[in-house]
């Protein structure tokens, strides 16, 4: 029966083999694309004003994983990013810190030093980010290096090729191996690259697969492909974490990443969280934005609310 709630024992059983896993994932309720997108669009028309907007902006700032994932990253750039994460608005110390900075593994040590003592976490992408096309040993070495350098969070990518070919157990095993490599010190975010999974049914299956394998967060995308976080795919993943907690008692976080650039967009995502997963997820322990330029727009809107005037991009720091 596709919609019967599995007990905790049943969830152990479903990961026993490729075929049981496949049967479970393909037994999840289907997703009607038109209906899903209509619901996301409808929630996008919520009008968030005044006090609600102020609350949402500060909440969104506190949920940003301030990210730099460029081949051209340098220690100087990462230090600047760390400083910005700790004091997003140098003119207003009441602005909350961001949740984390997100960097490549070789920059973890630099980032760690830059945010030391602030409570800002250091997240590192790993597992041959962004393509994930490397041997498991290489991926695990990547993770271990980041964890050893002090990463608080690991953002791994799944093997989309294996997933699309139906090799669910391979993907599952890889996630559990990475989870093990994270040890107890680092939380694991599992990136599906939803733009490459292509269908909503696949995104729902990937979400459950990731959660079954022990993901602490499920994350939409790397930010490196054409389609990244959208309201619809994030809504779908919020439904998945909501249903997973209802069935297992385990709460999993959600991180949309890539393409969220404006305060207006961020507020729409927070409405999705509020009206889908619920208030328990309105906390940066359970919801994040993977973004770089978003933070400055949030800060400009924050200044506008406080002063009644729009400032310009020169009144927030470029990095």
């Amino acid at each position: 029966m596709p919609t019967t709630a599995p007990t905790a024992q049943a969830l152990v059983d479903v990961t026993a083999s490729d075929s049981t896993l496949r049967r479970f994932l393909h037994g999840l309720p289907g997703v009607d694309a038109v209906g899903l997108e209509a619901r996301a669009a409808a929630l996008g028309t919520r009008s968030i004003k005044t006090t609600a907007k102020a609350y949402a902006i500060d909440l969104a700032i506190s949920m940003v994983d301030l990210t730099t994932l460029e081949g051209a990253d340098t220690p100087g750039k990462v230090r600047a990013l760390g400083a910005k994460a700790v004091h997003p608005d140098p003119t207003d110390r009441t602005a909350p810190t961001t949740a984390a900075v997100c960097v490549y593994p070789d920059m973890v040590a630099v980032a760690k030093e830059a945010v030391a003592g602030s409570g800002v976490k250091v997240a590192s992408v790993a597992t041959a980010f962004p393509a994930g096309r490397a041997a498991l040993d290489v991926k695990l070495a990547d993770v271990r290096e980041a964890v050893a350098a002090g990463a608080d969070e690991i953002d791994m990518v799944i093997d989309r090729g294996a997933f699309l070919a139906g090799g669910y157990l391979k993907v599952y095993d890889e996630i559990t191996a990475v989870k093990e490599a994270c040890g107890t010190s680092a939380r694991l975010k599992v990136i599906f690259e939803t733009g490459e999974l292509s269908t909503y049914d696949n995104i729902r299956r990937a979400s459950w697969l990731g959660m079954l394998a022990g993901a602490d967060f499920i994350k939409t995308s790397t930010g490196k492909v054409a389609v990244n976080a959208t309201p619809a795919n994030t809504l779908l993943m919020l439904e998945a974490v909501r249903d997973f907690r209802a069935q297992t008692g385990v709460q999993v976080g959600v991180k949309p990443a890539g393409g969220i650039r404006t305060t207006k967009d961020a507020v729409k995502f927070l409405v999705l969280v509020n009206e889908t997963a619920g208030a328990d997820w309105l906390d940066n322990h359970w919801f994040r934005f993977g973004a770089s330029s978003l933070l400055n727009d949030l800060l400009m809107q924050r200044q506008k609310l406080a002063t009644g005037r729009y400032s310009g991009p020169d009144y927030v720091t470029v990095d």
Binding site: M1, P2, T3, T4, A5, P29, G30, V31, D32, V34, G35, L36, A38, R39, T45, R46, S47, I48, K49, T50, T51, A52, K53, Y55, A56, L59, S62, E239, L270, V271, N274, E275, A279, D280, L282, D283, N284
Partner: protein, 487 residues
């Protein structure tokens, strides 16, 4: 940090609409008082505030309006279709330009949320006029054949003459559009009576007709009560009667019209079945159930007021549905975040209340989310009933309110049998991921509109109408032309 995300009030501004303290009847291009000087008040159902005082049409006014429409008919029907289209296109564009004003007005007079008037009613109103404007010069190609001899008007195929149209209060301006757009496109002239609780948007439409330069008498608007509607139906010089409203009144109209050569279309009540199979996309089905019964507070003739859910997923679906209902926001209809507005009138509220009390008395189990109702105005919390059987009144009678009756079935045959076991036949919904099941079930349902994996979606290109006591005739689409043509 974990404090709840409270949405601050976000009211749409009332200042975009200027409601006059009084309005007249719109006859022959002029606003005039009723012959007997009668007026009535129209109130905002969310606050009970009096919005305006409106002239109340009587029999003498009906006669005057029909004569004006008859006089206008000769020239209007003789215009080339392409010329009539220009007026309709102009009206459609003015509606778009004034859509914010009209949305606020409709929300004030009707009580429905601004979200709906802004995003559903008004776009559909404009779309309807655009759509039928496009038909006006293509009637010869609408599939009704060409007449061998030209009628007195020279049009081909020919319009009927004067159309008497009576519309309900649930979608005041949209129902006006459904009636007036095809009538004018086909060359008829119109006398329209809006419902007594929602006359204002029709009167604003009268102003739009003047703004568009529509010839005098082509459209006449007569606010009033049932007596005015009865006089319009009975008027000997009316050639066509179109009515949307209750089945009881529809039957009365059919009796009046019987034995005359008036052409009649009726859009009446409904008790739509929304059928959810166990392989449905559950999250979207929940949204569709909510849209099906809580859109416009359930005051929709095609509402999905009976939920037929497959037994094997009953508990899971009901949990999801209850969780979803708990997020509905009821309150000020002008607030942009309001999902559930006010019930249109005290009378309707009393009817909903009586029927739900009967549901409880007959043994169905009632549930509503925690929900604070405003102190003034007419309000009813979203409600669902479980343990409902086909024998319960709430499974048979149209409630026309935010009340969902939940029934179960085990097999597709049983679903079809229960869905069809009603005196009505207006709408139905089918939820399953299996395409072949959609086709198989849809073919067996006796309902004029069947939605699959969606509900309450409207489009001017799609014909709409009922089976059985839900009425006859189709509005919308190419089929909608037929009701206004002598074919």
């Amino acid at each position: 940090m974990a404090s709840a995300f409270e949405y601050a009030p976000a009211p749409e501004s009332r200042s975009v609409v200027d409601i006059a303290p009084s309005y007249g009847l719109f006859i022959d291009g002029e606003f005039t008082d009723a012959a007997d000087g009668k007026v009535f008040k129209t109130v905002s159902p969310s606050t009970e505030e009096v919005l305006s005082e409106v002239a109340q049409a009587g029999e003498a006014d009906v006669d005057r309006a029909v004569r004006a429409a008859r006089k206008a008919f000769e020239k209007w029907s003789a215009l080339p279709g392409s010329e009539r289209a220009k007026y309709l296109f102009r009206i459609a564009r003015i509606i778009q330009e004034r859509s914010r004003e009209l949305a606020v007005l409709e929300t004030l007079d009707n009580g429905k949320p601004i979200k709906e008037t802004r995003d559903a009613d008004l776009p559909l109103v404009a779309a309807h006029f655009f759509y039928y404007a496009g038909w006006a010069d293509k009637l010869d190609h609408a599939g009704f054949g060409r007449r061998t001899t030209n009628g007195p008007s020279g049009a081909n195929p020919a319009p009927l003459g004067v159309a008497g149209q009576i519309i309900p209060w649930n979608f005041p301006l949209l129902m006006l559009a459904w009636k007036i757009a095809p009538a004018l496109a086909t060359g008829n002239t119109v006398v329209l009576k809006p419902a007594e609780t929602t006359p204002l948007s029709a009167l604003f439409f009268a102003d739009i007709c003047r703004q568009a330069g529509l010839p005098r008498g082509v459209v006449n608007i007569l606010p009033g009560y049932g007596d005015a509607g009865a006089a319009l139906v009975a008027h000997p010089d009316v050639n066509k009667v179109a009515f949307t409203g209750s089945t009881a009144v529809g039957k009365e109209i059919a009796r009046t019209v019987a034995g005359t050569n008036k052409k009649l279309t009726l859009e009446l009540g409904g008790k739509g079945a929304n059928i959810v199979f166990d392989d449905a996309p559950i999250d979207q089905a929940v949204e569709g159930i909510v849209t099906g019964i809580f859109f416009n507070q359930g005051q929709v003739c095609c509402a999905g007021s009976r939920l037929l859910v497959q037994e094997s997923i009953h508990d899971e679906l009901l949990d999801s549905l209850k969780r979803r209902l708990s997020t509905l926001r009821l309150g000020d209809p002008l607030d942009k975040n309001t999902d559930i507005g006010a019930i249109n009138s005290a009378e309707q509220l009393a009817r909903i209340t009586a029927l739900t009390e009967q549901g409880e008395a007959e043994g169905a189990e009632r549930w509503s989310p925690a929900c604070e109702l405003p102190g003034s105005g007419y309000w009813f919390a979203p409600t669902l009933f479980t343990n409902v059987t086909q024998a319960h009144t709430i499974a048979r009678d149209e409630i026309f309110g935010p009340v969902l009756s939940v029934l179960t079935f085990r097999t597709p045959d049983e679903a079809v049998a229960k869905a069809n076991n009603t005196q009505y036949g207006l709408s139905a919904g089918i939820w399953t991921e299996k395409g072949s099941r959609i086709l198989a079930v849809a073919g067996k349902l006796r309902a004029g509109v069947i939605w699959s994996n969606t509900f309450n979606k409207f489009d001017p290109t799609s014909p709409f109408g009922g089976y059985k006591e839900s009425g006859f005739g189709r509005e919308g689409g190419r089929h909608g032309l037929e009701a206004y043509l002598d074919v």
